[in-house]
C-alpha cells in the first residue's frame, strides 16, 4: 500500500499540469518516489481515501500521511528537503513569490481555460484578458533569467507549465495566447524553462498531450452546442 514507512508516493495524472509541478519539485529536490497513475475520470479507492475533500490529484503521501493541493505540496517538499531551496530565504521575496503564484493560478489560468473552451466574442475577450495578465506576470521577472534568479525556484515551477499548455491550446482552439511581441521576456523565459533537462524530462509526451487536448476541446465544443 502506498506510503508505507518513510516512502514518498505521488498520485497523479499524466496530463495534469498540477501533478507535473509537484513532479518538478520532487525532481529538483532529488527525492525518490513511487508514482501512481490515476486513470481519470475513474478515481481509485486510494485517491478517494487520501483526498476525500476534493477527490483530486495530485496527492503526495509521505510517511503514510497524505497531502493535497499542488502549491501546498510544493511548499511542504521545500520545507522537508532543504537542499536546492525553491522559495527564497527572505520573507519579503517569499511573500512576492506566493503572491505571483496565486495571481497566475487565479487570473491567468481561468482566462486560458475560457479562451480554450469558449467561442466568438467570449473567447476573444478571454484571450485578451489572458494576454494582459501574462504581461502583468512578466513584470515579476524583473529582468532576471528566471523568477528564482540565476536558477529556477518556486514561481518558475508554479507557472512554467502555462507555456507548454498555452501553445497547445492555441493550436487547438485557434486563438493567440502567447504574444511574443507583447511579452518578449516571458516568451523567452517560457522557452528556456521548458528546455531545461530537469523540466523537459518530466513533460508528458507532446504528441499524446496534443491528441488529448484536441479530444477535450471537441468535447467542450459539443457541450456548447447542446
Amino acid at each position: 500500500m502506498a506510503g508505507n514507512g518513510d516512502g514518498v508516493t505521488l498520485l497523479g495524472y499524466w496530463a495534469s499540469p498540477y501533478a507535473l509541478r509537484v513532479k518538478w519539485a520532487l525532481k529538483i529536490k532529488e527525492v525518490q518516489y513511487e508514482y501512481m497513475e490515476e486513470h481519470l475520470p475513474d478515481k481509485s479507492p486510494m485517491l478517494l481515501q487520501y483526498n476525500p475533500v476534493h477527490k483530486k490529484i495530485p496527492v503526495l503521501v509521505h510517511k503514510g500521511k497524505p497531502l493535497a493541493e499542488s502549491l501546498v505540496i510544493i511548499e511542504y517538499i521545500d520545507e522537508v528537503w532543504k537542499h536546492n531551496p525553491l522559495l527564497p530565504q527572505d520573507p519579503y521575496h517569499r511573500a512576492k513569490a506566493r503572491f505571483w503564484a496565486k495571481f497566475a493560478d487565479e487570473k491567468c489560468v481561468p482566462a486560458m481555460f475560457r479562451a480554450f473552451s469558449k467561442v466568438g466574442e467570449e473567447q476573444a475577450q478571454a484571450a485578451e484578458e489572458l494576454r494582459e495578465n501574462l504581461k502583468t506576470l512578466e513584470s515579476a521577472l524583473e529582468g532576471k533569467q528566471y523568477f528564482g534568479g540565476e536558477t529556477i525556484g518556486f514561481l518558475d515551477i508554479a507557472v512554467g507549465w502555462i507555456g507548454c499548455w498555452a501553445r497547445m491550446n492555441e493550436e487547438v482552439a485557434g486563438v493567440n495566447m502567447i504574444d511574443a511581441e507583447m511579452i518578449p521576456l516571458l516568451s523567452v523565459w517560457f522557452q528556456k524553462f521548458l528546455e531545461l533537462p530537469i523540466i523537459k524530462e518530466c513533460l508528458p509526451p507532446q504528441d499524446k498531450l496534443l491528441e488529448h487536448t484536441k479530444e477535450f476541446h471537441k468535447m467542450l465544443m459539443m457541450a456548447t452546442l447542446t
Binding site: A68, E75, R94, R98, F99, F103
Partner: protein
C-alpha cells in the same frame, strides 16, 4: 513615530484586513492602520497594490506585501519570535495551508453566493452549501485541534485567523436570511471555538461589532441589490 515602519491599508469591514490586524496583535507588533475608502482609493493603495488595487496591504520598511494569506505568512516569518502563527511541523503547516485554501476558495465563495443568490430557492441552495462547507470544516477542526480550544491548539494561529475573520459575515448572512448557519447542534466544535475566538485578546478589540457590520451590510445591499459579494481580498 512608533509603529510607522509598519502600516496596514485596510477597511474596518474587510475580513481579509481583519486577518492582518489579528496576526500583528498576536506578535505584539505596533502598526499604523490606514482606513481606506474603496470608492476613492488612496494613492498609497494604488501604488502599493497596483495589480489588484485591493486591501489589505501590509507595508513594512516601505515594502508592500499583498494577499492576506501571503501577509499572514510574512508576519510569521518577519517576526519569528513566539507565539508562532503557523505550526512548526511541516505536515501540520501543509494541512493548515490546505484548509486555508478550502476556506478561501470554497467556503468564502459559497458565503458570497448567499448575497448574490436570487429567489427563495436560490437562497436556500446557497445557504445549504455554506452549511455543508461548515460541516466539512467542523471535521477538520476536531482533527487539527485534537480536543483543544483552537485549530492551532492552546492558542490561536493560522487557521483560526483564516476562518475566524468570517464570523462577523456569517452572522450577517444568518440575520439577513433568518437562518442558523453556525449551528451548535451540527457543529458543536466550531460553535464553541467561535465564542473563544471572539473573546481572545488579539481578536476582541479589533473584530468589528457584528451588529454594526449587519447595519453596514443592510445599507450596502439595499443600495445595490445585485452586488456580487463585496468583501475585498
Amino acid at each position: 513615530m512608533a509603529g510607522s515602519e509598519v502600516k496596514v491599508l485596510g477597511t474596518w469591514a474587510s475580513p481579509f484586513a481583519l486577518r492582518v490586524h489579528i496576526a500583528l496583535g498576536i506578535k505584539s507588533v505596533k502598526y499604523e492602520w490606514v482606513e481606506e475608502n474603496l470608492e476613492a482609493k488612496s494613492q498609497l493603495l494604488l501604488e502599493s497594490n497596483p495589480i489588484n488595487k485591493q486591501v489589505p496591504v501590509l507595508i513594512h520598511h516601505h515594502k508592500p506585501i499583498c494577499e492576506s494569506l501571503a501577509i499572514l505568512q510574512y508576519i510569521d516569518e518577519a517576526w519569528p519570535s513566539a507565539p508562532s502563527i503557523l505550526p512548526s511541523d511541516p505536515h501540520h503547516r501543509a494541512v493548515a495551508r490546505f484548509w486555508a485554501a478550502y476556506i478561501d476558495h470554497k467556503l468564502f465563495t459559497w458565503l458570497k453566493g448567499v448575497a448574490s443568490a436570487e429567489g427563495a430557492e436560490g437562497k436556500k441552495v446557497a445557504l445549504d452549501q455554506v452549511r455543508e462547507g461548515l460541516v466539512v470544516v467542523e471535521a477538520a477542526f476536531w482533527k487539527c485541534s485534537k480536543g483543544r480550544d483552537f485549530f492551532s491548539g492552546a492558542g490561536i494561529g493560522y487557521l483560526d485567523i483564516v476562518l475566524g475573520c468570517f464570523l462577523g459575515w456569517l452572522y450577517v448572512a444568518e440575520k439577513r436570511n433568518d437562518v442558523k448557519l453556525l449551528d451548535e447542534e451540527k457543529m458543536p466544535g466550531l460553535a464553541a471555538w467561535a465564542i473563544k475566538f471572539c473573546q481572545h485578546g488579539a481578536v476582541k478589540d479589533v473584530m468589528p461589532d457584528k451588529d454594526e457590520l449587519l447595519d453596514y451590510a443592510n445599507m450596502v445591499f439595499q443600495a445595490m441589490p445585485k452586488l456580487n459579494g463585496q468583501c475585498p481580498s
